[in-house]
């Protein structure tokens, strides 16, 4: 088990991603953030806080639960718990930045894209993640990455965030034993 990113560097990564989002989109016009439950939602909130400090105004923020769009729903033995999706603004013609903690196989993002399209037709969707650990199974890539962490397939990447885990922020890589 090793700590890969500590609290300070998570903060710096989020600050950098926020600047990159604004730079790439040339400001905050038509921009909105959608975090994937649970830790993606927390990160989206932090990015939004950062953008508010830079631009003076926060972006519309939504929370997406992708459970119902998972491609393995018929394979699991009991149904995963469904949480609420909260997107109370119209996403049509908006530039959406999807936020998640770890980018791995890409299947979560595939589900999130399908879910978003059911809400409307955004003008573009970009992806921001705190950690990209590789091993993609779908043709998906991130536009903004906090840190690339090369891993082997049987390692676990745990993102710990104060809001959800009641512990100090950190990213840990654990070896062996798929969770």
């Amino acid at each position: 088990m090793s700590k890969i990113i500590d609290k300070e560097n998570i903060r710096r990564a989020i600050t950098r991603i926020s600047h990159e989002i604004l730079e790439k989109n040339k400001g905050s016009e038509d921009l909105c953030l959608i975090g994937i439950r649970t830790r993606g939602a927390v990160l989206a909130e932090r990015i939004n806080e950062c953008i508010k400090q830079i631009e003076g105004a926060a972006l519309p923020l939504g929370i997406l639960d992708i459970t119902l769009y998972r491609d393995d729903l018929t394979l699991v033995s009991t149904q995963p718990i469904v949480h609420e999706t909260l997107i109370n603004f119209d996403i049509a013609d908006k530039k959406i930045v999807l936020v998640d903690d770890v980018l791995f196989t890409g299947r979560t993002i595939r589900a999130a894209l399908d879910a978003l399209i059911d809400f409307g037709r955004p003008s573009s969707i970009q992806l921001a993640v705190l950690v990209d650990r590789g091993h993609r199974e779908l043709p998906i890539r991130a536009d903004y990455v906090g840190k690339n962490i090369p891993t082997s397939i049987d390692e676990n990447v745990n993102v710990v965030l104060e809001e959800t885990d009641k512990e100090q922020d950190q990213v840990i890589v654990e070896t062996g034993g798929a969770k």
Binding site: T67, L68, Y69, S77, T78, Q79, V82, E84, A115, D118
Partner: protein, 315 residues
């Protein structure tokens, strides 16, 4: 939160408090789906749900059908009058034929208590009870509890009055069971001829004074006076019932400020409640209908996800 392992939904007796709470919590997430422009999620794509209704129904059948469709399941309605049952086939044979076409769930309503249980003991698909005789109507009770929780924030400790024909009401029986499990205090109220003599055994108080119920309750559930049963002479007349037990605006003067008036429908305006009350500030009758779809979506989602081998189930 607990995990869902049940294969069928037959009644609330064999659900734990945690399982009921899981259904209500899951329903909360599904309510949002029905408020979208595209009211559909792919969770049950490829599943087939059959509705086998041996009694008339508007709300329940449509609610189940919408719930299944919004989860992307395929639905089939079997109208009993035009089916082989009218040619003398037994229920079990009909159901076995339905099973042979590889369906995933059968939603059944039948005038005889116990039919859903018999089907569940003999068939592989998930069986969902949409009302059996005077015994049980679990999805109605669940949507009632969901509505109470949504409006009042809790169920534990609430005073709930159920007024009307308790004797013939599966809605009352299921609600008594569920509300007791979640810690509400239930009082039933109605004419003595429509309250079973040993109803206290279910853990309820009995009252014959509807004004007392209005004064003390946080929630009042009204039940339909089943006019079709009037030949049995349970009541001197509908008019007398309306006078003694009907709820009108005048009577509600003594009610608590955030009282909920509920009714499973169909309502007899002017009998159980006046039109003013049905459309009035306390009424959540249409919220119940909206919530019914969310609760049934939650049930279908939870039931059709389990893969346990049926023979292991005891209940």
């Amino acid at each position: 939160m607990s995990e869902w392992i049940k294969h069928d939904l037959l009644d609330l007796q064999n659900l734990s408090k945690e399982e009921i709470e899981l259904i209500l919590e899951t329903a909360k997430s599904f309510k949002e789906v029905s408020s979208r422009d595209v009211k559909k999620v792919p969770a049950l794509r490829g599943k087939t749900v059959v509705m086998l209704f041996f009694e008339n129904s508007t709300r329940t059948r449509m609610s189940f059908e919408l719930a299944a469709k919004r989860l992307s399941a395929d639905t089939i309605n079997i109208a009993i009058s035009s089916s082989s049952l009218s040619k003398g086939e037994t229920i079990l044979d009909t159901a076995r034929n339905i099973e042979a076409m590889n369906v995933d769930a059968i939603i059944v309503r039948h005038p005889t208590a116990g039919v859903p249980k018999i089907l569940s003991e003999n068939l592989g698909p998930s069986i969902i009870n949409a009302g059996d005789g005077c015994r049980s109507h679990p999805t109605q009770a669940l949507l009632d509890m969901f509505t109470i929780k949504e409006k009042l924030g809790k169920i534990e400790g609430l005073e709930v009055g159920i007024v009307g024909d308790i004797a013939h009401s599966r809605v009352a029986r299921s609600n008594i069971c569920g509300l007791n499990k979640l810690g509400a205090k239930v009082t039933v109220c109605g004419p003595a001829t429509l309250i079973p003599s040993d109803i206290e055994k279910l853990g309820v108080k009995v009252s014959h004074d509807v004004d007392e119920i209005i004064k003390n309750s946080d929630v009042i559930m009204l039940l339909r006076i089943q006019k079709e049963r009037q030949e049995d002479k349970f009541l001197p007349s509908i008019r007398e019932y309306a006078k003694v037990f009907g709820i009108n605006k005048n009577r509600l003067k003594n009610a608590k400020k955030d009282l909920l008036i509920m009714h499973p429908g169909p309502t007899n305006r002017g009998v159980e409640l006046s039109a003013e009350v049905a459309d009035g500030e306390y009424s959540v009758i249409l919220d119940q209908v909206t919530n019914g779809v969310a609760v049934r979506m939650a049930i279908l989602y939870l039931l059709l996800g389990t893969k346990e081998i049926k023979t292991e189930e005891v209940s």
